[in-house]
């Protein structure tokens, strides 16, 4: 195989940046959301759970289409930005970042929700009587007891965002350095019948995804083992 071209390196870097940012932001958003979903008895939580899961069942083109409307120059968000003298978000990195956040949201929320639901709330009561405030309790009890769920959320969210195609194709197009991630680049190569180049990038994604999952299962076993009853 020939070495990667600068354009392909750019696509890989862009993909990593998109997936990394998406994962980071989603963790921050999902932690409180997942906690609420796991422990709220409010009826609103069913509605929220359904909304969060929606990207699991919707075709990515549907998500991409509506985001294009909302973030585009005539949309509620894009139009407002234009009116403020800023740029709308369709066909931009920030646009596909928002798309990725929505697209991968259930993959971050679900493992966290399961991890949080498994935490015995009396441990938090005990921590409160030992003078641990809410943030202290989160970092000293909830986080360490949810290690496995957090690791799952990080890996799955990152990998899922790397594998994203439909939303970006609809919302971002294929602008080099801005929206042309690896999956789009593969599509472009295939359309242009450059199968060798498409193969090169596809093999890289395949190897990356497999290695990530392999690493994940190996780490997960180690992270979890101290918590298993002997």
């Amino acid at each position: 195989m020939s070495p990667l071209t600068p354009g392909e390196w750019q696509a890989i870097w862009l993909t990593a940046k998109l997936a990394g940012l998406t994962t980071f932001i989603l963790l921050l958003i999902s932690a409180p959301l997942a906690w609420w979903l796991a422990h709220s008895k409010s009826r609103m939580s069913n509605l929220a759970a359904a909304l969060v899961s929606l990207p699991l069942v919707l075709p990515p083109t549907v998500i991409g289409f509506y985001l294009l409307l909302v973030l585009g120059p005539q949309g509620a968000v894009g139009g407002t930005l234009e009116a403020l003298g800023l740029h709308h978000l369709a066909f931009s990195f920030w646009g596909i970042l928002i798309g990725s956040l929505i697209y991968s949201l259930p993959f971050a929320v679900q493992p966290l929700r399961e991890a949080f639901a498994g935490i015995d709330l009396r441990l938090l009561d005990a921590a409160a009587t030992l003078r641990a405030g809410p943030m202290d309790r989160f970092f000293s009890v909830v986080l360490p007891l949810s290690r496995s769920g957090i690791l799952t959320a990080v890996v799955i969210t990152f990998a899922h965002t790397v594998g994203e195609f439909g939303v970006i194709a609809m919302l971002g197009g294929s602008i080099a350095g801005e929206t042309k991630v690896v999956s789009i680049a593969i599509y472009d190569y295939t359309q242009a019948l450059e199968y060798g180049a498409a193969h090169r990038l596809s093999a890289i994604l395949l190897a990356f995804s497999f290695a990530t999952l392999l690493l994940f299962y190996a780490i997960n076993q180690r992270v979890m083992s101290p918590l298993k009853p002997r």
Partner: protein
């Protein structure tokens, strides 16, 4: 004092404590059937339930009023849960350090400050480096109590801490909790549905039924009631308070005080610091004259104070001992009539057997 009036609705259950006030000292036992609201009240007192309404004050400091709740973190409560609630991701030492790190630094120094000292007192030194998942039930509760003490609480709440333990571990921990309450002077709120634990530990009894506090009274008052909720299938029980003397030449040990003296035949393993004697009313007989030629060791002069009919032709006779303590005797209604027992009469109580509460 701990005083207030708390209400809390949980699903179908409703706690309506009614106004209450009791001293913030010694061991106060919350007693009642399961479902009577003991745990709910204790959680409300600790501020662990945000939906609690009403008022609450601890030693004059407001913990809750109609519009505001002092957070649990600022109430300085040590809480020992039924299942210990140890942090599974930390070792025994990690659990103790968790409490010690968050304890106030400016509080007057006590013996219960360093992890080493508390671990020694609680008998968990050998367990310090273990994972809490490897501990036995009794060990878990010891660690839980040690952890609560290290947070330097002003009030120790215990929610049936011994209910999951076997008989031997329970007896050991009961003695330890009793000793700790005396050594530290920290007021203890203790939940149990076991009359034996009440009789062993309680200074006062908070009786709960159907989500409200029925009454708060001293152990002595609670046991003086002929229909006391503390009496189970063994029938009425008296608890005599006193101290143990040294064994005499006959191997008998004196128990009592200046005006009350019993002699006990104790095993060598008996705890010399024990202060309570449990006497079943059915093990006490009455005589109108001092009997002679009896093998029964303890024959005490008493004054009859009340006669309560019980079921199946039996009566409970309340007797006042020379030092003012109450001793209950259960005899047949026939004997009561034959001896013409009436309140105010002098008599002799013959005690067939006693149990030292160690």
């Amino acid at each position: 004092m701990i005083e207030g009036n708390l209400s809390l609705k949980k699903g179908n259950f409703e706690l309506q404590s009614g106004p209450f006030a009791f001293p913030a000292q010694g061991v106060s036992v919350l007693f009642g059937r399961s479902g009577s609201g003991k745990s709910t009240l204790l959680r409300a007192l600790a501020g662990l339930d945000k939906d609690t309404r009403g008022t609450l004050a601890f030693k004059g400091e407001s913990w809750q009023n109609q519009t505001w709740q002092r957070p649990t973190t600022q109430r300085h409560i040590g809480f020992v849960f039924q299942d210990a609630a140890l942090f599974p991701h930390l070792s025994v030492r990690g659990n103790l350090a968790y409490a010690a790190r968050r304890a106030p630094l400016n509080r007057t120094k006590t013996a219960f400050e360093s992890i080493a000292a508390v671990a020694r007192r609680m008998g968990v030194v050998a367990l310090l480096e273990q994972a809490v998942t490897t501990l036995s039930g009794g060990e878990r509760q010891r660690v839980a109590i040690a952890r609560a003490l290290l947070s330097q609480p002003r009030l120790l709440c215990m929610d049936e801490p011994l209910s999951a333990l076997d008989w031997a571990a329970r007896a050991e921990l009961l003695a330890l909790i009793d000793a700790l309450a005396k050594e530290t002077g920290i007021p203890v709120l203790y939940i149990t549905h076991s009359p034996l634990e009440v009789e062993r530990l309680a200074d006062r009894v908070i009786l709960m039924a159907d989500g409200r506090i029925e009454r708060i009274e001293s152990l002595r008052e609670a046991l003086a009631r002929p229909d006391s909720a503390l009496f189970d299938e063994e029938g009425p029980v008296s608890v005599l308070h006193g101290t143990l003397g040294a064994p005499d030449a006959n191997g008998l040990t004196a128990f009592g005080n200046d005006s009350l003296r019993l002699r006990l035949s104790l095993p060598p393993t008996a705890t010399p610091s024990a202060t309570r004697l449990r006497v079943l009313a059915r093990d006490v007989s009455l005589a109108t004259v001092q009997p002679r030629g009896l093998s029964i060791l303890n024959q005490l002069p008493v004054m009859l104070t009340a006669i309560h009919p019980r079921s199946a032709g039996r009566v409970t006779v309340a007797c006042q001992l020379a030092d003012g303590q109450t001793l209950l005797a259960e005899i047949t209604g026939y004997s009561c009539q034959a001896l013409a027992l009436t309140p105010g009469m002098q008599a002799f109580a013959l005690i067939k057997s006693v149990a030292l509460m160690e």
